[in-house]
Amino acid sequence: MIQFLTMADAKKTVLFEKHSALTGKSQIVSFAGWLMPLWFKSQAREHEAVRKTAGLFDCTHMAVLGIRGKTAQDFLNILTTNDVSLLKPGKAQYSYILNFEGDIIDDVIIYCFADDNYMMVANAANEQKVKDWINEISNLKFEISKDSSPHSTKQIEIKDLKNPSLPDARVDIAIQGPVSAECLKNIFGADFGGIKPFTFMQAKTRDFDPAPAPHSCHNSGLACMPIPILKNDKQIPAERIQSKCGVDVIISRTGYTGAKIGFELFVHPSKAVQLWDVILEKGKNLNVIPCGLASRDSLRIEAGLPLYGHELAGEFNISPFQAGYGWAVKLQKPDFIGKKALIKKAVDFKTEVARLEFDGVKGIRPIRQFDGILNKNGVCIGHILSCAGVGDKQIMLSLIEKQYNIVDNSVGVYYLARNQSHIQQGRREKVNIGDSLTADLAGKVIERFEKF
């Protein structure tokens, strides 16, 4: 009855053994080439945990690249749409990598350590594509525009930071939700709640081992306190970081759940399992629970956050402007790859991403990607991009004609055929804007982004 996905070639993350111990075999699926848990207890419980307490996410499959060198900032400014020169040490920004036609290759977050040292996190599904693109670009000596001198990228070094043989390797583990700062305080002894969004600290903490062996760093039984390496935009001189022991952690106030307070932690892959364990141990009394892909998806949909392939690029080749992220495109930059094409896309779009709400989850057929969205007259005005059950509602992101994207506007949904029976009954397998249909369910447009 269920077509199980073949997982023969999928890779295991550093946390795979942890997942296997916590969830059933049928809950582990292949995602972007990695074996990942869909849920541990249930999607609904994990979703609720992030909204009420906190959830822990394995994001170690995501791509992490290091970009270093004298011209690193210039290179990143050509490669991406946002303005990297706005970043100071300890700051991060959301951005896009485009091709020359202005199509999105990936959405990324760039973290600044120094103006010659950056980290970029990209989607696991796009890791190879992004690496290939960067290689292609960095091998070029190209003139971006008639006015700029030829740009050489020979003075930069690009590394795959997930490579465990690198001493500064990094993988991403996320803790998201109202008690996340308190949980981190239990581990690190410091309050990170005051860090602003898209800001990060780098800390050397005592080893995560719950009972570290005493050594010279320890002062009559006291453990090492975390020392921020980056604090208030300034880099603390290396010589002040005395601790001999300790784990290098980047603690970033970023995330993909819409949670008002949440963090991404970046550690060496060899420390990921320990970090995962210590978070769950110290978070137990706070009801911090591990969360899988299903809740990650329902949380980001509820928040209105885009997923590459659904709300960005994908079937409808959605641009940053259509997705509601025009602010991450700095057209006033002298130049960047795809700028020319994007100038046209900035004004030339008839459909945009809208967030919709429909009634009920139990007993109501789930709405799915590509189902049709209809206006009050039953005319198709767009399609579903992503949908999730949240409480007793279905929340979804859709691409609809701009003029209908007004909060509280009534819309309908047309379910596409789910199987041969439906097709035989006359239900369509595909619908197009302009088609006249009958709605199966009534709903409405809601705010583009949820404010938590």
């Binding site: 009855m1 299903a294 139990k362 057929r365 059950g389």
Partner: protein, 126 residues
């Protein structure tokens, strides 16, 4: 681990046969894999089905899964409770979560179904 008095299919349906009536549902293995079922589409009473025809559909956030008929016959009864309480399949897949009953027209189909031992062995290969 799985009820001994039932017959099973490779697609994780079960059939409870009494005389020429079979009750049909999905196994614990299937309901766990599906996750929280939020919608069940039941067949129409009197619908004629052949082996492996689509009998019903169970949907969760993970998938819309077709449930296939293990036998040839006619649907005589459906579990209407599932329309408002689809979670009965998750909670009690062999009893309260039964999907429909079929009046069997080809008893020989039963021989193609798996016994509990055969099903358990089959699960070991997945």
């Amino acid at each position: 681990m799985f009820p001994e008095n039932l017959y099973y299919t490779k697609d994780h349906e079960w059939a409870e046969i009494s005389g020429n009536i079979a009750a049909v549902g999905i196994t614990d293995y299937a309901q766990i894999a599906l996750g929280e079922i939020t919608f069940v589409e039941l067949p129409a009473v009197n619908k004629q089905v052949g082996v492996h025809d689509i009998l019903a559909t169970a949907e969760s956030s993970k998938a819309a899964s077709d449930i296939y008929s293990p036998l040839t016959g006619q649907v005589t009864e459906v579990n209407n409770e599932l329309s408002s309480k689809p979670e009965l399949i998750n909670q009690d897949c062999y009893k309260a979560g039964w999907i429909c009953k079929i009046k069997i027209s080809n008893p020989a189909d039963k021989d193609k179904l798996m016994t509990v031992k055969e099903y358990e062995k089959y699960l070991g290969t997945l």
